[in-house]
Symmetry: C2
């Protein structure tokens, strides 16, 4: 095992009707709330009205910022932070999926400083103070509800980058699986794929840690067992619950115990697809992961074979394991080639340039520019 | 799944030479340290001298309380709290195993109040303030390093009870597997058994939670694979590391996600063995667990069969599963009957009375007095 520090102070409230204690939780931090949400689903589902009514009945002073995009952009972060600063909010309430909660993490550290939000990604600003963040999760996918990480795009600079500090953990996250019953088919599938990809990023990192490997296999097996059942019964509370819980476990730190780093090369490469073509994050991963495993098969053969044995309870070659994983993503209805998305044009050169510009790389499996061409060739 | 809250703010530092950052960590809380330790092993191993030298070189003002017993008693807690109060300590440094860290948790809430420590167990005192606690673990077993619970005996009242509050989490715990290389054979085995028993207490609790069940199976399988290897090679760092990590995971909260309660009936019954005969905690569990599963086999047959399938990868009856688990404990060198310990006298009546007095019971599998006789009959 590699030395590690386990630290996760998030208060995670999970289950049916768990929002009943929301007001009491917010009151711990004060009365002025900045409500942050996305592009309409929380209004369509009635959740927005329900929360607003609830907060106003309890005497909270609420200002709001809606319209966070599903691939979140830094302009929204800055606009929301300006509102929070102006209203001197005591607490941020993020209601949504990964994009809303990730954006709110940066908003929480941006409000107390004069800097634009992107300065945290470039290192120009340091997180030294944060407005407390409370999250209500409406999409099972990224795990952001129980970690300090935020990924945001900056189209002005052509970058999609990650930031995290001990200050950007949500203080509380509320997870009621019922709130995910209205998530449409495609985003449900992307969520299952995303959580599996998070497990893989840990698996292909650095550190020989048998028990943590068992945890990773446990989470992926759970997703592979109940993900397909959920896809054929999207209104099933029990399956929603299992996938929501698995997505949180997939990126709350436990898959990293005993490792010095994850890999994250696939996420890094996938970000270019999202930047250039607004490909949903989960879909970018089901395209890149099979290609990445194929391209680097010789370097990581042993780990792929171990993964196959753990997931499928039989002895498979690395190639067979990759085929099975790809077939699984496909069975969920996820794209496994960029061509599945029917985006017109020739993507080779722009993709390559975006990967160079974003310095796409893994923490363990290092990439050179020739590897970019190899990957692109495999996922067109 | 049952609704649950996941919350664990412990900063866990795990790995080789991890103590190098101890001083820096303590300094966060102040300069006056109360060092708490046990009955000699930390002095024998040289750890005491090493820490004292280190703390003094860094200018800490250290007072100390040694002599915590392996089944810790409330008198030591009160005596240590008096020293901490007198010296107005800023932080407690607990160096030892479960008994030292458990005692230190009560010391940490007892110092700020005039009450005797036992008042926290009876509810006469409430934990409203705590001196920060930093722990250095020297025994892989109880998981106390990453949870808020403390179990202490009061021989004056004939009770062994548990207490925990959000204030009694250690702030930081340092786990260097090297510090466990000197743990003798019997306590090494008891530690492996203890961590397995913690997993079982979660397994037999209330809540149908498939992913958490996978985590529980993962931890027990790890212990069953590497526990025996460690027993035949006590100086092996890698095996020590695996068991130390597994013991922490076995009781840090993750085995309880999606459950409303664990069972803990076996721990409850085992405490009477420790109270009456000073049986080490882990040894009490290897005696009681097989008896408890046999006695309640009809009520929990399905869960025992699921456990057997998960642990041994084959279809076993409940009876076969119990026999395998008992055989495993025996293979470690743990007692599986009270008679294995050669304690003279007739134990039936005193055991029964202690169980009645301590209201021995489980959170899920409820016991009546006739069940006490059933258990006692099976483990004599």
């Amino acid at each position: 095992m590699e030395n590690f520090i386990a630290y996760n102070p998030v208060n995670l409230h999970f289950g049916k009707n768990i929002l009943s204690s929301l007001g009491k939780t917010l009151k711990e931090y004060g009365n002025r709330v900045l409500l942050v949400y996305g592009k309409g689903s929380v209004k369509k589902s009635g959740l927005y009205d329900r929360i607003m009514k609830d907060l106003k009945a309890q005497g909270f002073d609420v200002c709001e910022y809606g319209g966070i995009k599903s691939n979140p952009v830094i302009e929204d972060v800055d606009a929301a932070a300006a509102i929070g600063r102006e209203h001197q909010v005591d607490v941020i309430l993020a209601v949504g999926g990964g994009s809303v909660i990730d954006s709110s993490k940066i908003i929480s550290v941006a409000i107390p400083v004069p800097n634009p939000g992107w300065d945290f990604f470039t290192g120009k600003a340091k997180a030294e103070k944060a407005i407390p963040l409370v999250a209500i999760l409406t999409l099972a996918a990224t795990g952001t509800e129980m970690n300090p990480f935020a990924v945001v795009s900056n189209h002005a600079t052509g970058q999609k980058s990650a930031f995290g500090s001990p200050l950007t953990f949500p203080k509380h996250s509320f997870l009621d699986p019922e709130l995910t019953l209205t998530v449409p088919r495609d985003y449900t599938a992307f969520g299952v794929a995303d959580l599996i990809a998070h497990c893989f990023e840990a698996w292909f990192g650095i550190g020989d840690t048998t028990l943590t490997d068992r945890f990773v296999i446990s989470i992926v097996k759970e997703a592979m067992e109940y993900g397909p059942q959920l896809m054929s019964d999207l209104q099933n509370y029990e399956y929603r619950e299992k996938i929501m819980f698995a997505a949180t476990m997939a990126l709350n730190g436990m898959t990293m115990y005993g490792r010095s780093t994850g890999d994250w090369g696939v996420h890094s490469a996938g970000h270019s697809l999202s930047l250039l073509y607004d490909v949903p994050h989960g879909a970018s991963l089901t395209i890149v992961y099979p290609a990445w495993m194929r391209h680097f098969k010789d370097r990581i053969e042993n780990r792929i074979v171990q993964l196959g044995a753990g997931l499928f309870d039989e002895t498979l070659t690395a190639g067979e394991t990759i085929n099975r994983i790809e077939a699984f993503f496909k069975s969920l209805g996820c794209p496994i080639r960029l061509s599945d998305l029917n985006i017109p044009g020739d993507h080779r050169q722009p993709l390559f340039e975006s990967m160079v510009h974003n310095k796409v790389n893994g923490g363990n499996v290092k990439m050179k520019e020739e590897d970019y061409w190899g990957l692109i060739g495999l996922y067109l």
